[in-house]
Amino acid sequence: MATQTHGGAAHGSVKEYVWGLIWSIVLTAIPFALVMSGSFSNGLTLAIILLCAIAQVFVQLVFFLHMNGDSDQLWNTTSGVFIVLIVAIVVLGSIWIMQHLNHNMLMGH
């Protein structure tokens, strides 16, 4: 049973926040360094940027927002997963549809 001070708001510690900061610096430095040096091919760089971004979103969720599988976090996590699905439909769906539209409209001949 969630208590008044606990439900939906887990607490952090200094250690957790320091780790969160270190991880986010590392995961930011990697893609910036890659793009600035331009040492890899565009495809590989793009893949690493995306991976680092996704990893860092998880780092933020776990270390700063304290999301976890606890039962008092159930509704936060459930609504979070639901929104991720909606966001994926909106973003990927829009890009997909608009690219096909451009293709079918023979823009630029």
Partner: protein, 207 residues
């Protein structure tokens, strides 16, 4: 309908209408979390718009002409570090340590202010170079997306000032702690959005 006696437990999360000075922090935070999720959809539409328009320059300036990654790296650093300092402020609030709370909150405010100033300078600089919001579909989408994020940061800073006034007036009460927890969610959420912005707009923009 007959009246039914309900025994409320310690963590009762139903609708509360009569109790005063009794904030069910868990409910408020879940409600605020759901607001943030709706904000996610707002940003998703802006990201989708940006992605769709990302090649429409109307023969004008492209991001590769204007973006300075060193500048963006500093902006990013300010925001990432402010997420950490907000965490430290929350620890201060949990320990009822007013000095620690206000000190870290002040640092967070300064970092947010630094970020916002840099962003405004960047907008001014881009517009000055000939890439204003009206110059092409790409730049419209750029200013809409990055500007909305900046507006959120501004709202967060405004909220921070109001909350500090509350805290100075009443101390770290349960209500103020709940408000602070909501602001903390909001601030970390902005950081997550910025991660998507710097990856998708700035890094992919100069590739």
């Amino acid at each position: 309908m007959s009246t039914i006696e309900i025994q409320h437990e310690a963590g009762y999360t139903g609708f509360v209408s009569e109790e005063h000075h009794h904030d069910y922090a868990g409910d408020t935070l879940l409600g605020f979390w759901i607001y943030i999720m709706s904000d996610c959809i707002l940003f998703a539409t802006l990201f989708a718009t940006y992605a769709v328009l990302s090649g429409s320059f109307a023969g004008g300036l492209t991001p590769a002409d204007l973006f300075d990654l060193n500048f963006v790296a500093v902006e990013t650093g300010l925001l990432l570090f402010s997420s950490f300092t907000f965490g430290m402020a929350m620890l201060g609030a949990q320990q009822k340590n007013m000095t620690q709370l206000l000190l870290w909150l002040g640092i967070t405010f300064a970092l947010g202010g630094g970020f916002l100033s840099m962003e405004l300078y960047e907008f001014y600089h881009f517009s000055h170079e000939g890439a204003g919001p009206t110059s092409s579909a790409y730049w419209s989408a750029f200013y809409a997306l990055v500007g909305t994020h900046g507006l959120h940061v501004f709202a967060g800073m405004f909220w921070m000032v109001i909350l500090v006034i509350h805290i100075l007036k009443d101390g770290i009460t349960a209500e103020n702690h709940t408000r602070l927890s909501c602001l903390s969610l909001f601030w970390h959420f902005l950081d997550i959005i910025w991660i998507c912005v710097f990856s998708m707009v700035y890094l992919m923009g100069v590739m």
